[in-house]
Point group: C2
Chain length 293, copies 2
Amino acid sequence: MTLTEYVARQQARVDRALDRWVPPESTLPNSIHKAMRYSLFAGGKRIRPILCMAAAEAVSDSPIGIENCASTLELIHTYSLIHDDLPALDNDDLRRGVPTCHKVFGDAMAILAGDALLTLAFQVLAQMECPPDRQVALIAELSTASGTVNGMIGGQVCDIEGEGQHPDAALLEAIHRAKTGALLRASLRMGGIYAGADKEELRALSCYGEHTGLAFQIVDDVLDVEQSSEALGKTAGKDAQQQKITFPAVYGLERSREMAEEERLAAHLALSPFDERAERLRELADFIVHRRA
Amino acid sequence: MTLTEYVARQQARVDRALDRWVPPESTLPNSIHKAMRYSLFAGGKRIRPILCMAAAEAVSDSPIGIENCASTLELIHTYSLIHDDLPALDNDDLRRGVPTCHKVFGDAMAILAGDALLTLAFQVLAQMECPPDRQVALIAELSTASGTVNGMIGGQVCDIEGEGQHPDAALLEAIHRAKTGALLRASLRMGGIYAGADKEELRALSCYGEHTGLAFQIVDDVLDVEQSSEALGKTAGKDAQQQKITFPAVYGLERSREMAEEERLAAHLALSPFDERAERLRELADFIVHRRA
């Protein structure tokens, strides 16, 4: 199977899991389930769930039901996009190529739909089939990575407060490490925990996750400068316009591209404890760095 | 110990637990921890945690650490108040006697502080000392009660969509059952689950929770009509102004008061499987119905 075929297959698995866990539009109150599904199924790349599943496959031959665990990363990621796009935050009209949730359903419903996706992530982790001690570890991992202390929400706060400040390498790294890095790292670790990884494997997956996460963010910043809104499915050039602290702003475009490549190699190196079962993780690191959107 | 002394002691236990779990204001990023603590420590009555702890005490002699479990109900309740008070939702300026979170910290920070409290609730349940199978059951309980299907968020959606509609008994009950009833019921059930309640005990606690929850909401609606903003610590008369569907609007004030009394008696009846260890729960049902703010 080519990587493209593998990614398409895993996306379909995640989408089916999400479709099972998110109440149908016909369930009352309809409006919020419509809003939740609108944002969830607007064509996300499912990078976090795919990394989670690939990590589980690197540890165990057939991690049955891993798509349930993996789908919770997409629930968290989507809630964070809905809330970040609100007028009070980034005030963005376009996401994944379509109007943002609040543009279609209004601010009140977008706030509640985000809350609902966040809540549902933990409901899925508590209700899926899995040994309870692993479920608890997964919930601890996801909540910490999504939280305020070196987690996603904390990164979002720093990002807002950093707007207009002098682009500084230390601040940039702190923002990134929390805002996108923590959840990407958790994606790998959750796959490992679900599949019963030992300490060494979990350490390797964390390290891979940190480097891949950094590569992902650098490439994201570079694409925001280089690409059109049409290609990205979201408003391009927004970072510069909002005076966000980005990798191109601190290091320039050329050095940023080199850094992404260095992170890619470090991610490969981190996987040395694993045999060919981690091949998909290696390919995914390459894919993340070489993508054009 | 009088009920007043008991309540004060339990409030203090919950506040200490919250203080341990919520990062201090000195932890980066400071601003969000300030916002979280501002709303958490603005003088809430801690009714849900106190009910949770009393339920655990009805089941087990010394449910050690129950205040950690109980505090997660206050984290969820406070996040829901912060988000409900936002301009996009109820647009309220006053809560628990002080300006609302977004009035002090801005809309963006209030949205993120709410998200953070919601996330932290599940982190606490996953990180506290407790057998893993009970932790998973508690997380399933809290997430379901807070969610969209017959849960708190679903109730909030119905409440918003019901504004200005004809006050209708069935709609009123559906809104209440979800918006405040589900979390109050979960408060009792979580206390029971934490303390290892058997099926019959859990059923009795659920039934008590449903009746107490309904009584609580009826009294809340009545007080909104009768009392001043000063006495309530929030904007009084807001329900009528926003054309909310309330018990006084559907049944009138006198019949609403009678209904609260009926629910109080039904709550007492539900506790018949319990001996004197449920005495605090009986007193709390009386307290909830006879309170003046």
